[in-house]
Subunit: 342 residues, 2 copies
DNA sequence: AAAAAAATGTTAATCGTTTAAGTTTGCCCA
DNA sequence: TGGGCAAACTTAAACGATTAACATTTTTTT
């Protein structure tokens, strides 16, 4: 139980050498003889000095080996979401290998400027609801990598959401079908609702809108029908939002033949809801998901969905951040999983 | 795109006041006149100074508003584990309210001493496999709260695992039954195996052993039978480990009547395995879980398990850490969920 | 054997703040 | 009128390291 913390200076005095030499012993082995270095290091161990103070190092060196991962929604929700947590796993594995630490940050919380001074960079996952985050990110000077959305001037990691949604929808929709969409973060509302004519949110950068574009293109190509009041907005995938939307969509007069869901979580909720109501899937209703989470492979009937590797996304994002200035945006591949719901 | 970072000194010169005054404007409003304070703050906004550098503040003030959450296993696994991620959600909610940040830390990675200098404290979740972590924790001087295990001198958050396991087992086991146990982290092995006579791991501090004690007491009280080669060790709950143990346990000659599992994840895997083999649950085989994750309520037949509130655990842990020196250990309550598997 | 190069140390400035202690000013009251 | 006291600022010493630039010794080269 050491009460007093030793400093580099204390150690230097005790050993009768300069602080520079102690510092070099820890940081730049080539700057002193191996013999002296060993002597210093073992002496430090003996007297209980565990190395240069990190806080001081951060200030002096200007970097901390800490990378902030900024999650679009609150940490709690994101961490329990399988897609997001798998993503974090990917990031974490690469960072860990590089000896970096992971600061988990909630985008909806207070300002990121609280940490911008000492983290080495930001990995931002998912489009933030408020534009404040974007502004702050460009106000500060640390490198940024965005995932599943784009920010001017920052390398990003994405799949081709438009194309993925298009292909998925195309294989689900039959000529002339009626279609509904359970979408994510389409408009600025904290609750489940149909979008009608509400202004679309962040239409240029958000992946939700790329997916919507893809769906719409497929609907056109199949000469299918849809209207704005058959497009639902969910603020997040979590249980209640999805359940409510599912119920609404299933109790429309003249129920849609096909419902396209922007996440597997939503699709699974919808599926359970439909089965509970005695609706035959895919006989009476076809359902598609998005993401390819493990659970999707276990539903009965098995969900059709777009598989993307969240873990790879995380790894690539981390690598891009570590790569520094010459990092270029990456578009990852996806795969269609043809299940039994279409 | 500011290229040069302004410092307090720059601002002070520009405004013609001392650095102390600027600093006070940000940190100690009572030290200067309101008029001047407003003037300074708005001036700062104008010239693009976003407040004192945090790295310097950490060094000078000696605290950072960062709390490290140390996870027993690797971050990746823990984050995707429903129990652990719910726990993190709890921690995060309290920290966020207190304006603290959350550094996610993998206990199995490198030393925590990397961050001990600048975090304000540690919340350690789950017994670490290696004792190194414990040593390091007491080597450093920041406050520590442990969860689901104990560390000498540190406040902890637990349920009464022995009693919970006892009660659960007691209601599952019938007089004279044969029993098997699928346990977690009982011995020092990276793979699934029966424990036979391997030395038990960390027997004093680990909750696994409290649970084991409880099971054993119930087995005695019910005059049931068990042997060391019917106690399995799993390094973690994750899929493959559980599946392997489940298969082994179910293919023993003279299969056990009751299998007690130390987590719901394990129990669910076992249940699926048993149903897949055409075994009638609970007719031929009774199963109990532990934790009370959401998914447990959705299995058919519904799992019997011990429910504990992971989110509360997280909240309490965070509050204990924030409470400082006068924090006392807390024992949370649990509830038996009598499902259809016993 | 002298000059050049390399190896090993030290000195002191610096990173960007905070804050105890000191200074100046203005105000009140006897 | 001047002593006592706040209020409002400033000065300057930390916080605990890193790292150019310089100084000294040892080794290598010619």
């Amino acid at each position: 139980m050491k009460k007093v913390k030793l400093t580099l200076k204390d150690v230097a005095e005790k050993l009768g050498v300069s602080t520079a030499t102690i510092s070099n012993a820890f940081n730049r082995p080539d700057q002193l003889s191996a013999a002296r270095r060993d002597a210093i290091l073992t002496a430090c161990k003996e007297i209980g000095y565990s190395g240069p103070n990190k806080a001081a190092q951060i200030l002096r060196k200007g970097h901390s080996n800490i990378v902030a991962v900024v999650l679009a929604d609150n940490i709690g929700y994101m961490v329990s979401d399988p897609v997001a947590s798998t993503f974090i796993r990917g990031v974490s594995s690469v960072l860990q290998e590089a000896g970096k630490h992971l600061l988990l940050y909630a985008g909806n919380a207070t300002t990121i400027l609280d940490v911008a001074d000492f983290v080495d960079g930001f990995i931002c996952y998912g489009a933030p609801q408020n534009t404040k985050l974007g502004d702050e990110l460009k106000q500060q000077s640390k490198p940024v990598v965005t995932v599943d959305f784009n920010l001017e001037g920052c390398p990003s990691v994405n799949i081709d959401n438009e194309e993925a949604a298009y292909q998925m929808a195309l294989s689900a929709i039959e000529e002339g079908d009626s279609v509904a969409i359970l979408g994510l973060k389409l408009i600025d509302s904290p609750s489940t609702c149909r979008i009608y004519d509400s202004p679309l949110l962040d239409a240029e950068t958000a992946i939700s809108h790329r997916r919507l574009d893809g769906y719409m293109r497929a609907i056109q190509d199949r000469h299918a029908t849809i209207s704005n009041d058959w497009i639902w907005h969910l603020p997040e995938s979590g249980g209640n939002f999805a359940r409510q939307a599912a119920k609404e969509a299933l109790s429309t007069t003249d129920r849609p033949r096909t419902i396209l869901c922007m996440s597997d979580i939503i699709a699974i909720e919808l599926l359970q809801c439909a089965l509970g109501m005695g609706i035959d899937v895919p006989g009476e209703l076809k359902i598609t998901g998005f993401d390819g989470i493990d659970e999707a492979a276990r539903t009965r009937p098995q969900l059709s969905t777009v598989c993307q590797s969240s873990i790879e996304k995380g790894q690539v994002a981390a690598r891009l951040l570590l790569a520094g200035d010459d990092a270029k945006s990456e578009v990852l591949s996806f795969e269609l999983l043809s299940g039994e719901t279409i």
